[in-house]
């Protein structure tokens, strides 16, 4: 039996544009791309040159500090571009897809009969390894480590997030195989975090895992928050985390012996007429994913959710970990006396705008306006309301700002990554870029302590 952990703190941002539970197949994308920038702290080294032909599962680049960690192509085709940014930093490796995908062949086999090293080897060569993320730091797992436990959150509580129970309804078998493979990688357990208010038909039937149910507003679905309530991260602890769709990809690798980069994406956001789910592959071109034309001038396309996603252009590509596209109207307008008006249509967790007069079920359209200017920390207690962890957020961020490594460690920097504190940034009256502050702190920790 699983127990329920009730979280009170947090916030569901009532955005308009939730995806209908209808699945479409995306039109085949012309190009696919893997973006080294999706992996914080990674220094990529190219394995291919422009013009090379690759199969699905052929390496495109690898991690300079862990060369066995390879990042592979989701399709077969020709490497048409290596897009570089400032100081020749690699931003994208773009592959032009063949009409018919040709796969690299990897070893098939039931994970329960394979050894830990064999499973590791399969994941590393096929390019599925980067789906495993490490806590602390939220970076790609290091092959040399053995994690204490592996955590999987089976629901996403972020604004307009995918419903995994719907997305993976037909994938129970592959998910189970994926879990079997993962449980070989740890001496501890594989933990599933389930939503308390759902039937959990698919995830509830999975064997060989420890389950814990969570109820409460976002970020209850964040794996970091779930770890904090099951087995909080102490100095020296290493946990791995992985998203449910990626577990299925791992399962498919062992069942079929190929890297099938299938990814179901929720198309969401108020500018869309019919928000829905589409099936495509990792790294697909945004324009192939979109099912209707949108005004890209006045809207922002986000690969991911509105709190943590990355902005992409209409001809850009999906991020590696994203299973959601959110369209948000741009907020590049002036609003006369905007700070003084009653604001009936302006959702705010503080009741300083009169939107609290309306119904609780009401959904709002929001845009990317900054709604003010950056200020020093003034209002206290607002971050604490949206962070359901035993962490003093303001004190942690201040320790990062003054670069005090001891204090960062003492105040729990190992326990959080950007997504866990993204709501603090959303509610911040002083408009401070908290996610960036935290990532800077994490980078400092990696640099100083390794």
């Amino acid at each position: 039996m699983s127990n329920v952990i009730k979280l009170k703190k947090g916030l569901n941002i009532p955005l308009q544009g939730e995806a209908e539970k209808t699945m479409k197949k995306a039109s085949p994308s012309q190009t696919y791309a893997i973006k080294p920038t999706d992996f914080p702290g990674l220094t990529p080294k190219l394995s291919v040159k422009e013009g090379a032909t690759v199969k699905a599962g052929s390496p495109l680049f690898y991690d300079k500090s862990n060369p066995e960690v390879k990042f592979t192509s989701p399709v077969s085709g020709e490497v048409v571009a290596v897009v570089r940014g400032e100081r020749r930093r690699i931003l994208e490796v773009v592959v032009k897809a063949d009409n018919e995908i040709v796969y690299e062949e990897f070893q098939k086999g039931s994970p329960s009969s394979l050894k830990r090293e064999e499973i590791k080897e399969s994941l590393l060569t096929s390019g599925l390894w980067p789906m495993l993320k490490m806590r602390p730091y939220g970076i790609v797992a290091r092959p040399a480590d053995t994690p204490k436990d592996i955590f999987i959150s089976c629901f996403d509580s972020a604004p307009l997030a995918s419903d995994y129970e719907f997305v993976l309804a037909e994938e129970q078998k592959h998910f189970q195989v994926g879990i079997d493979a993962l449980s070989k990688l740890t001496d501890g357990s594989v933990h599933l975090g389930l939503p308390a208010d759902s039937s959990n038909k698919m995830f509830g039937a999975i064997q060989g895992v420890k389950t814990t149910k969570f109820s409460g507003p976002h970020p209850a679905g964040n794996v970091g928050v779930q770890i904090a309530h099951i087995s909080p991260i102490n100095k020296g602890d290493i946990y791995w985390t992985i998203a449910p769709q990626d577990v299925v990809n791992i399962g498919r690798l062992f069942e079929k012996g190929i890297y099938d980069a299938k990814r179901v994406i929720a198309l969401t956001g108020s500018p869309l007429k019919s928000p829905e789910y589409v099936e495509t592959l990792i790294g697909a071109n945004i324009s192939s994913v979109m099912q209707e034309s949108i005004d890209a001038e006045n809207n922002r396309i986000i690969s991911g959710d509105v709190l943590t996603g990355t902005q992409v252009e209409i001809d850009g590509h999906m991020s590696f970990y994203s299973n959601q596209v959110t369209i948000l109207p741009e907020g590049n307008y002036y609003e006369m006396f905007g700070w003084a008006l009653p604001g009936l249509g302006k959702f705010s967790p503080s009741r300083t705008f009169f939107s609290w007069l309306g119904s609780k079920a009401r959904k709002f359209t929001m845009d990317t306006n900054f709604h003010g200017e950056e200020r020093a920390f003034v209002v206290t207690g607002e971050y604490e309301k949206v962070l359901p962890m035993d962490i003093l957020p303001v004190q942690l961020f201040k320790s990062i700002l003054v670069n005090d490594i001891d204090k960062m460690e003492q105040l729990g920097i190992y326990e959080v990554i950007e997504e866990d504190i993204a709501l603090c940034e959303y509610v911040c009256t002083s408009k401070i870029d908290i996610q960036k502050i935290l990532r800077d702190g994490i980078n400092t920790m990696i640099k100083e302590l390794g």
Partner: protein, 388 residues
Amino acid sequence: MKALRNWIDKQKPQFEKGGKLHMFKSVFGGFETFLFVPNHTTKIGSHVRDYTDLKRTMSMVVLALIPALLVGMYNIGYQHNLAVGATASFMETFFYGFLRVLPAIIVSYGVGLGVEFVTAQLKGHEIHEGFLVSGLLIPMVMPVNTPLWMIAVSVAFSVVFCKEVFGGTGMNIWNPALVARAFLFFAYPSQMSGESVWVSLGGEKAIDAFSGATPLAKAAEAVTTGTLDLGNFSPMDAFLGFIPGSIGETSTLAILIGAVILIWTGIGSWKIMVSTVLGASFVGILMNLFGSNPYMTDMPFWYHFIIGGFAFGAVFMATDPVSAAQTEKGKWYYGFIIGVLAVIIRVMNPAYPEGMMLAILLMNTFAPLIDHGVVSGNIKRRLKRAKA
């Protein structure tokens, strides 16, 4: 609206670097963002941000102050009528007070914003909103007869030495409004206390039986005279605000309305307000039970909440997030000790009839220490967990 926007866009280049009015860039920016929420969009991190910003927060606090200010204005007229034995209509009474208070507010905002504009320009940053609230708080904690030049001096002192030298809004250690009040209290004691400063006579002659002493000062006299006499005021008068006192602090009812606004909007910390009342009740009840003089034993402890500046301090001063304790647990200790100290200073130290101001300033000083304790607790919990 469109025309105004276009006009501003046209003027803007003059204030940019190299423009001939560049020296007024901060002032221009201040007015521009006052008129229009800027068109900035999110660049990194979260793509949506809450609509609330510091301007909204501060204007909500100003809104919460309005009931106390209006009742305060009316009360000035009311006290004036009592003092000179006149009768006047409701509107005449209010208007008398309004005219007495308005110049103080104008001087306070004028001087304070002037200093803010100059420092913002010197430091090359934007104009911050902190003074929107301080500018109204300062006249509201002054006696009505405070000369305007004194308000000007105290505002200038507090904005420069209590705020700007520490780095501006969000960086100060003490509450600027209280520092302004304390500055005048210690620099010009005779103009800031006694019986003649609380009631505006407006050049007319007071009737014979009139005394301008506040109930708080009368209560303090009990220590020497041996009998408690609060003057001609019922507790209901004190609750509604019809007693002599500083401009905005007399009406507990109006302050409670402000408290509801602050708590409902999520701006003011209810923890601090509640714990301050708890702290004062704790000491007040102890004194009621075991006191050694009539002030302690004869005055029910809850009188402390309705006389003097206790309610105003607890709701609007102690809750200032910048100078208060910043941790949620720390807020409980912080408020509780303020309540305890306020009553102790009031009752035990007849030289300072009003204990609230000193209690809050003292705890502003110690708030970082309280937070340090709470933070250490968090760290210890984490270390213990790691060892287990």
